[in-house]
Amino acid sequence: MAALLPRATKRLRLSPTSGFVCRDCRRSFASSIRHGQQQQPAPSQHVFQSDKTTHFGFETVAEELKASRVRTVFSSVAANYDTMNDLMSLGIHRLWKDHFVRSLNPGIRLTSTNTSSPHNAAGQTILDIAGGTGDIALRLLDHATTINRDTATSVIISDINPEMLAEGRKRFATSHYYSTTTSSPNRRVSFLEANAEDLSAIESNSIDLYTVAFGIRNFTHKQVALQEAFRVLKPGGVFACLEFTPRLSNPIMNGIYKRWSFGAIPLIGQVVAADRESYQYLVESIERFPSQAEFAGMIEEAGFIVPGKERGDGGELEGGWEDLSLGIAAIHKGVKPV
């Protein structure tokens, strides 16, 4: 072993302080990456007719591609979705979702005055958009059943991504809302694979409550999705959206929050889910989402009445939403006029 000492010390002596290499000898790493990848099949390219682009996080992509890119992101995050949500928000997402559902109070509580109405016997029809893994839908059904003793209310879970829906089916398989053995038409949860911008599978004026939690920032055309929501809701129906906001109002808290978003979240994604890129996309998509006032304006533009709103001095909407956790998330509601 002692004979190996000179070799070992020689290894250590190779000091890295003088890093000079002439530029000609230093071919870029980039070209070696390209060489290594040149044998891989090239992605299918085709020329798009329109050159309309939209944002995908901080990237700019053709509009037609955004939906499929979002679908790919959620295919890869589906399996660890709930674990990652807990880690990224330190469990606070559960409080947000509980508050969201509680404030909506789904289900019809039968009292002495409304027992006679035939509408109430059928229960409410709730549509949960981008609700793949079913955490909102489960809360909605539990609230209706347990608190309002309403066993007729049903939820349609809709998502663009089949893997997320598969996770939802797994969650509901062990619940009593979706028994796979009976073929009873009164099953209280159903699954629909659809793009929120095209809900042609759902009749107009047929939904009592439309919820979308942490989904709408991924839509290519949010205004189109809002218009579809307006179409499928019954007059008097409620549109409710729980979504992240692009910035907090307090600058110090905003600084801390942004550093957590852009530093810790992709890192947790790398360590837990082996996928830094998807979580980088998620935090970038939050940056790109319109502010609460702008989004409330979009909801009004779709035809909804936004409760609690006032026009402030600058003409901006104020008060038409509810901030959660210092403004990290916000609940927007709209009512379809009767």
Partner: protein
């Protein structure tokens, strides 16, 4: 006056060459990437990545991406620079750094390698891949090392890891991997290789004994004695006789791990069968 002085100092700091410059970026304004896929990390992020990937890969050794991330997070400030200098100090290493060849399942055609003569490096490599049931599938891309050439050196180390397995004959089971990692530590001095040895706690008692008695000594001795394995231009050595290459590098092969384990397993099975037979005989005899 105070602000003028600090601005002046700041400008002088920025004028320093890159390795000596203090980090002047934060999470919210990262500098542009130096190569495709590059993610510049701050010191805190790098520390957190090192800790997270260390514990993650210990819990789940199948997460190769975490072992890769651990390697990249712990390679700076000194170790990956030393490896690059070692490549530059050797003529073949310089050629590798200049050409920057990549090993993927496309660039290494296994059919051609299987047809090479019996005792060549290429044939041994293909045979090892078949025996262990692995492919030269694309290793994770290096992302967290800032200098492009050092990033390439790390990528080369990662892609030639299988060749190190082939030339030493060690299998992919955890015992074999630990022996190769110990060899690589003595040979390349990358901290990740030493940190992976913590996985010794996952070995069974008999395997641990074998590791400490035989393989660790072999690994450290050979790793120090041998030439830098990262300086071997594997693409050109595919048709070299493997014994010639081993002699040139100064590597002796350790006892065949799979054979040793198989012999021990067979012996144990025979002993158990004999014991069962004796018990059955005893039962019949009414003893």
């Amino acid at each position: 006056m105070r602000t003028q002085i600090s601005q002046h100092t700041f400008r002088r700091l920025l004028a320093l060459p890159q390795p000596l410059r203090l980090r002047t970026f934060s999470i919210l304004n990262r500098p542009p990437p130096n190569y495709p896929g590059h993610v510049p990390l701050t010191l805190v992020e790098r520390g957190a990545l090192a800790l997270g990937s260390a514990f993650g890969s210990l819990r789940n050794p199948h997460r190769h991406d975490l072992i890769a991330a651990l390697g990249e997070a712990t390679a700076k400030p000194y170790f990956i620079s030393r490896l690059r200098k070692a490549m530059l100090a050797n003529p073949t290493g310089r050629r590798i750094l200049h050409d920057k060849p990549r090993i993927t399942s496309q660039t290494m055609s296994l059919e051609k390698l299987r047809q090479l003569p019996e005792n060549t490096v290429g044939r041994a490599y293909a045979a090892w891949l078949d025996r262990e049931g692995v492919t030269p599938d694309t290793r994770d891309q290096v992302r967290y090392i800032d200098d492009p050439e050092e990033a390439y050196a790390m990528q080369r180390y990662r892609e030639t890891h299988d060749f190190t397995h082939a030339i030493t004959g060690l299998p992919v089971i955890i015992e074999g991997e630990l022996a190769v990692k110990a060899f690589e530590f003595a040979n390349t001095l990358l901290p990740m290789t030493a940190l992976s040895l913590v996985a010794v706690v996952r070995l069974k008692a008999a395997e641990r004994k074998r590791f400490f008695e035989t393989y660790l000594l072999w690994a450290v001795g050979n790793g120090l004695k041998a030439e830098e394995v990262v300086n071997v231009y594997w693409e050109e050595e595919l048709e070299t006789d493997i014994e010639v290459l081993r002699a040139r590098l100064g590597i002796e092969i350790p006892p065949d791990l799979r054979e040793t384990r198989k012999l021990l397993r067979d012996k144990e099975k025979a002993e158990r069968a004999a014991r069962d037979a004796k018990d059955r005989l005893g039962a019949v005899m009414g003893v």
